[in-house]
């Protein structure tokens, strides 16, 4: 059935055992969920008073504003980190040591410093040297520095995974370094790495929630504010569930795109690899120009291309 190496197709004994495990799993999961629901009910988390806050359109307006702030930070950070990623990846592959060495150091540094510490440096640290920074920019710059360097590594891995011949062929037809990189290597690397790049955008999206700690008024910050509302008996878990749901949906959409790209890529790769295999040449049919010595080269190539 599956390609897993772990188990065979189950026999009668194994089927009984599997059913037993299935029942046990259901019981354990139901017990855990039941315990949570029970505690929620006991501590009054299901009371209408606590959920009531989400029946007001003013609250939903606030949520929309906060969602806008989250998306504003995510959008700019995503675009800029892609730009930075390309710049760092190309710099790191440079043939000049004086370009490669500093860029390698910067990439490694950006990757090693936790995003939150970077945000704090920008927001709390810079004022002590006389620069005041808006939380929005602290969030965006920190995200760009981190995700940009991660994307740079991804792109570099993508470029290095390409067959050597790609680059050589580029030089052979007379392209310069710039052309080889821009026209031949990068497009293929981006295509290979697209699922990973989108997956990294999910990380960027999730990390915008760190802005909450440096008082950037995004979704999670709003959740904290809502949860201190005494009029609705401090609906902390309730706001966490609602806001959390929004995050999960946004990230699931992005993850879904990543998975779709991966599937599509795998399918087209499979098509490529079966077509490109030289062990099993296509049969030559009558009328094929390859059979005629007079067939022009372009005719032959066009037939080969079709296969």
């Amino acid at each position: 059935m599956s390609t897993s190496v772990l188990y065979d197709v189950p026999g009668p004994k194994a089927i009984v055992r599997n059913r037993f495990i299935a029942v046990a799993t259901v019981i354990v999961v139901a017990a855990v969920l039941g315990l949570i629901v029970y505690r929620f009910a006991l501590s009054g988390q299901f009371s209408a008073a606590k959920w009531g806050i989400f029946t007001y359109s003013a609250v939903w307006n606030q949520i929309l504003v906060a969602l806008g702030k989250t998306l504003a930070a995510f959008g700019l950070a995503a675009v800029l980190s892609l730009v930075l990623g390309f710049a760092l990846a190309i710099g790191r592959l440079s043939e000049h040591r004086w370009v490669r060495a500093p860029i390698t150091t910067v990439t490694e540094l950006f990757r090693a410093v936790p995003v939150l510490v970077m945000m704090m440096l920008l927001y709390y640290g810079l004022p002590s040297v006389g620069v005041k920074m808006d939380p929005y920019w602290a969030v965006v710059i920190a995200l760009v520095a981190y995700n940009g360097s991660v994307l740079a590594e991804t792109l570099r891995a993508g470029i290095e995974s390409l067959p050597r011949g790609q680059k050589e062929a580029g030089y052979a037809i007379g392209l310069r370094k710039n052309g080889v990189m821009r026209l031949i290597l990068l497009p293929q690397a981006v295509r290979v790495m697209l699922p990973v790049i989108v997956a990294q955008l999910v990380v960027t999206m999730k990390d915008t929630a760190l802005g909450f700690i440096i008082t950037y008024p995004e979704l999670l910050y709003l959740a904290k504010q809502l949860s201190s509302n005494g009029q609705f008996q401090q609906p902390l878990l309730q706001s966490a569930f609602v806001i959390g749901g929004i995050y999960v949906v946004m990230c699931l959409i992005l993850s879904g795109i990543a998975r779709m790209l991966e599937l599509r890529l795998r399918r087209s790769n499979k098509a490529l690899s079966t077509r490109g295999s030289h062990t099993d040449p296509a049969p030559v049919e009558p009328g094929d120009p390859r059979l005629h010595p007079e067939g022009t080269i372009t005719e032959v190539i066009s037939v080969q291309d079709r296969e």
Partner: protein
């Protein structure tokens, strides 16, 4: 230098707390991750489903929100009191477990089916197929990505600072808020960043060595 020597006590507890959250969260994530990972590759469809739902939901939740749930939300349930540190360890463990599970699953799937088939063909029973043929290979291909998970975990411990755990990233606030502590926020944070860079580079070095030592030629 005053930033370090004037606050030596604070640096001590901060580094200690960071390591406690790292090790505690790591152990918790490993245990839970192995269980979830096993569920995801098990022959029981329901177990696979539960594992998949768990991984997909937790993975797409920001870690900050997971912390929010546990450190701030847990006390609202009126259960026995736990310190923010313990709750933080649970939060980071539950989050990282999803990554551990995915790494394990990917590692097991890298072992070609032929290996297990060959092992069965020479008459090995299930236990030996697993312990002698499949798991050693799976383990080797798992170690480098697993180290990456732990590097990410180390960096994620900083988030605990936002939830009243006095670890490294919280040091700035402590220095700032108590009178007579030397050092500006900038100095403290730069040093904290430096500590993380050193720790992360250390872990990456270990990762590279393991990767080289245990490379499987396929």
């Amino acid at each position: 230098m005053d930033v370090i020597f004037g606050n030596l006590d604070l640096w001590g507890t901060a580094i200690q707390n960071t390591l406690i959250v790292f090790v505690g969260g790591g152990v918790f994530a490993l245990i839970l991750g192995i269980i979830i990972g096993a569920m995801r590759v098990s022959p029981v469809p329901i177990a696979r489903g539960v594992g998949m739902v768990y991984v997909n939901i937790i993975r797409n939740t920001p870690l900050t929100l997971v912390f929010f749930f546990f450190v701030l939300g847990y006390p609202a349930l009126g259960l026995p009191r736990l310190s923010p540190m313990v709750l933080g360890i649970i939060a980071i463990g539950i989050y990282t477990a999803t990554y551990v599970a995915e790494v394990l699953r990917a590692g097991i799937n890298t072992v070609p089916v032929g290996q297990a088939e060959a092992a069965r063909a020479i008459g090995l029973p299930f236990g030996q197929v697993m312990t002698l043929v499949v798991l050693p290979q799976a383990f080797r291909s798992v170690v480098p990505p697993m180290m990456s998970v732990f590097i990410a975990l180390l960096k994620n411990t900083t988030i605990a600072a936002g939830f009243s755990v006095s670890e490294l990233a919280a040091l700035r606030a402590t220095v700032n808020d108590s009178a007579g502590r030397p050092g500006s926020p900038m100095e403290v944070l730069l040093l904290v960043a430096l500590v993380f860079v050193v720790l992360v580079l250390l872990l990456s070095a270990v990762q590279h060595r393991l990767e080289k030592k245990w490379r499987i030629v396929r």
